[in-house]
Amino acid sequence: MATIELTDEQRQTLREGLGKPVEVVDPATQQRYVLLGREQYERVRSLLENIPDREALGSPKGVPPGIVRSQQAFWRDLPELLRDKRNHGKTVCYHGDQRIGISTSDEPLVRACLRQGIPDDAYDLFIIGPRDIPPWETEAIEDLGPQHFENGPAEA
């Protein structure tokens, strides 16, 4: 995505609008645009970019689009990441299609996201390792045994 820096006048207008979208007009063409905050944009991004429906991907409602996009990008890149054995077991972070970095722990990657102003619901972290299903699909985990419930097995 291209980035244009705000002028002082635009910044002032945005402040006065208290976070509401601001209409912008190109005086040369009279073409109108809407300037809205990054967080607001992330909420409607899937509609604008025609991202596949989350339910169709097997992911539940409520997973932020930015996280779904990051999961898709990780799944797309995983074969390439696995080709380099030095990556195995390391953490990779995606912000949508953009790879933030690879590290031995989450911390430097989360710090990088914070530095870049990426909201928490627009990135995800993954372990680089073989996996059989995409991150957005529902994984079957081991059923909890009866010892984990109040009416479990009687004590000896």
Binding site: P60, V63, P64, D106, E107, F126, T138, A140, L144
Partner: protein, 178 residues
């Protein structure tokens, strides 16, 4: 670095106290003390509440907890944790949320928590957040959380103690020799 140092576990039932409640611990269940936070909390906050969890190497997920325990014990509203997806367990879909887990060290050879900074566990894939009706009676720390954080788990069956530590030079040396 040692996180759990010769932590005792019992061969007879016992109890653990949390939030004014005495909860039953079955024989051969190891109790660890943990805290939960949002994944963006990079520095330990001493005000974060701690609560017990069962260490279950038979659990192939990171961490499992009921909604009420999350609110009352961990001090977190479920809405504060980003949804990441779901897992399927006992035929039900269980939502998974992003979180960071903090594992509290013990006083060497004792069940008591040591008053030093806990160890942060990064939980890629998040925590399973159960509705109360199907939640485990105590939260569960699974093997995936230890594995993905490259931790070393040892069990001394003779002395009924267990240890969790980061990879140290002795282990690396032994691996080279074996």
């Amino acid at each position: 670095m040692k996180i759990l140092d010769r932590l005792p576990y019992g061969t007879a039932p016992t109890t653990v106290a949390v939030a004014g409640q005495e909860l039953r611990v079955r024989a051969y269940q190891a109790i660890v003390w943990v805290s939960l936070s949002v994944r963006t909390m990079l520095e330990w906050d001493t005000l974060t509440p701690r609560f017990p969890a069962i260490l279950d190497t038979g659990s192939n997920h990171n961490f499992s907890i009921g909604r009420s325990h999350l609110i009352q014990w961990a001090g977190i509203l479920p809405e504060a944790l980003l949804p990441l997806g779901t897992v399927r367990e006992r035929g039900q879909r269980v939502p998974v949320h992003a979180a960071k887990l903090w594992l509290h060290p013990n006083l060497p050879g004792q069940n008591q928590v040591a008053e030093r900074k806990p160890f942060a566990l990064d939980l890629k894939g998040g925590i399973a957040l159960y509705p109360d009706q199907t939640a485990p009676r105590l939260p569960i720390l699974g093997l995936r959380a230890l594995t993905d954080n490259n931790l070393y788990l040892s069990i001394d069956g003779q002395r009924r103690r267990l240890g969790i530590r980061t990879l140290d030079w002795r282990t690396k040396l032994l691996r080279l020799l074996s």
